[in-house]
Amino acid sequence: MGELKLMKGNEAIAEAAIREGVDAYFGYPITPQSEVLEYLMAEQPEKRTGMVVLQAESELAAINMVYGAAAVGKKVLTTSSSPGISLYQEGISYIAGAELPCVIANVVRGGPGLGTIQPSQADYFQTVKGGGHGDYKLFTLAPSSVQEMADFVSLGFEIAFKYRTPVMILSDGMIGQMMEKVELKEQKPRWTDEEIKKMHDKWATIGKTPDRERNIITSLNLDSAIQEKHNHKLQAKFRKMEAEEVRYELFNTDDAEYLMVAYGSSARIAQKSIALARAKGIKVGLLRPITLFPFPEKPLADLTPQLKGILSVELSAGQMIEDVKLAVQCKVRVEHYGRFGGMIHSPEEVLTAFEQTFIGK
């Protein structure tokens, strides 16, 4: 068993990044995620592993530094929160278009605009439908514990490099700010320049040696026919993710007559609601999507025959519910419940909403 620590979600991302052998972090402070950069700076990762950590002058600079480091085959991480992530959108579209691997975490706060700094899940649409322009999909992992904040750094890079794609860790102020026990992995060595050359010389712009053609990182194709082809290639990747990378978790679904669907912080709360419901004899289960794109459509569809109703529980005015509806194809009634704008529903509130919606009191 690895080292056990009590850590904030934000700190866990930072420590996990060092141990994952991440090469670079670029970011700009914003609540509720500034601890990532602060932790990294305090740890002096340039001494621990040689990792580069730089506070950028803005989110625009940060995401484009990420683009640069990713273009040269490095493992690069950035984190921000909602308004900052909006500023990342052009960059994310470029990274997706140019097929670069990187991991981005959004520690979501309430919006729109400057909003509040309290937890929220209102950036679901922005994340999974495409906050940037053009046809792309953002592979999205939704941690619901500090342990997953740490674990998804490694998983994120695995997927990012497997598909040469940006990966989003969609968290929120609750997961970022809470402390839990976290088991940390052993330190992985950072890739050496030679290893990077071996693995990524086919595409990374690490210097054109005589034995190969020059590499070009770009998302531009003035010829639309080529751009369409490129888009088809991207779409094929997204279909592959849908086929192979869906991740989710089930709780109490075996005998469930009702289902809650909730991710991240909301899944934690819903789980408690389910315990309260079960105590009352109500047979309700939980499906927790771990990947938001690709969304666990099939597992959800598979559960529908046994269900009388589904409650999509989100800290938003109702966003994921659309994907839930699309997945269950009208075979069961789907409703939404959630507080938003930085408010957090309690397990009791969720239960009450559930009962009012489906049991009728």
């Binding site: 090469d23 670079a24 670029f26 580069v52 730089l54 950028a56 002058e57 803005s58 625009l60 600079a61 940060a62 484009n64 530094m65 990420v66 683009y67 640069g68 480091a69 990713a70 273009a71 040269v72 490095k74 690069v76 052009e90 960059g91 470029y94 140019a98 320049d193 712009t205 690490i206 210097g207 054109k208 040696t209 005589p210 020059r214 590499n215 070009i216 990182i217 770009t218 998302s219 531009l220 003035l222």
Partner: protein, 260 residues
């Protein structure tokens, strides 16, 4: 002496560097971008560092620089080349990294990235093509469009009251502690080309010696945008742009050059 006797391998005195690809340049006839490209590639060839150089293409006419420069290249979002270069240089500090940017890219949308990369003193080289206009998008006003100059978005000439002043970004970055060498040149005649090349050589040498950031502005024509034939465009540039953007060294060895 017959031509055939002269045109022989052993008599060769000048030939396009192999670091320029065989692709036909997408630039308009007489556009300085091609010359500027070639200068940079010649310097890299002469230093023998093509295997260790990564170029950043901007958004602008030179967005396709990667089609012409036979080295590994990254195309950056509009204005963000210095940030992209920072991401690369910080993680591969022993590579040569340069950005190649137009005036809209570097001095309008990219102002913050330019200023901060320069102020941090990233150990990179910035090649800045100032043609006083947005070429790529069809000749709109640039931050460097001089007073009275006509563009598609200043069709009656740049009016400082309405549109603001032209920006001397090069003089500005020279003020920053992170820049080590800042100069302005051009590529409109052989003497200018030779000077520019020396400046670019110096810039890459500074990068090699890890002394800080070198910033070379190349005042150039956009004959299409200016609606002048190339040679006339170069003349117009000398007569109208040079008074506002005078060629010469601005900062050398980390010290501002004193104007007498």
């Amino acid at each position: 002496m017959k031509l055939q006797e002269i045109i022989k391998e052993e008599n060769l005195v000048y030939k396009r560097t192999p670091l320029m690809t065989d692709n036909v340049l997408s630039y308009c006839p007489g556009c300085g971008h091609g010359t500027a490209h070639r200068i940079v590639m010649e310097v890299i060839e002469e230093m023998g560092v093509q295997d260790d150089t990564i170029g950043i293409a901007p958004v602008g006419c030179s967005v396709l620089a990667y089609d012409f420069m036979n080295i590994d290249m990254v195309q950056a979002a509009h204005g963000r080349a210095p940030a992209v270069a920072t991401g690369i240089k910080r993680t591969w500090p022993d590579k040569f990294v340069f950005t190649y940017q137009g005036d809209g890219d570097l001095a309008a949308i990219g102002t913050a990235e330019t200023i901060h990369a320069c102020n941090r003193g990233e150990n990179i080289t910035i090649i800045f093509i100032n043609n006083g206009i947005y070429g790529m998008t069809g000749g709109q006003m640039a931050p460097t469009t001089i007073e009275g100059m006509k563009t598609s978005t200043s069709p009656y000439g740049r009016d400082l009251q309405l549109m603001g002043n032209p920006l001397k970004i090069t003089e500005l970055v020279a003020q920053l502690p992170g820049t080590y060498f800042v100069a302005r040149h051009s590529v409109h005649n052989p003497a200018a080309v030779r000077k520019t090349k020396r400046a670019v050589q110096k810039a890459f040498q500074i990068q090699k010696e890890r002394k800080g950031l070198a910033f070379i502005e190349i005042v150039s024509n956009c004959n299409s945008g200016w609606k002048l034939p190339p040679v006339k465009a170069n003349q117009w540039m000398v007569e109208n742009m040079f008074p506002f953007f005078p060629p010469g060294d601005i900062k050398v060895d980390g010290e501002l050059v004193k104007k007498e």
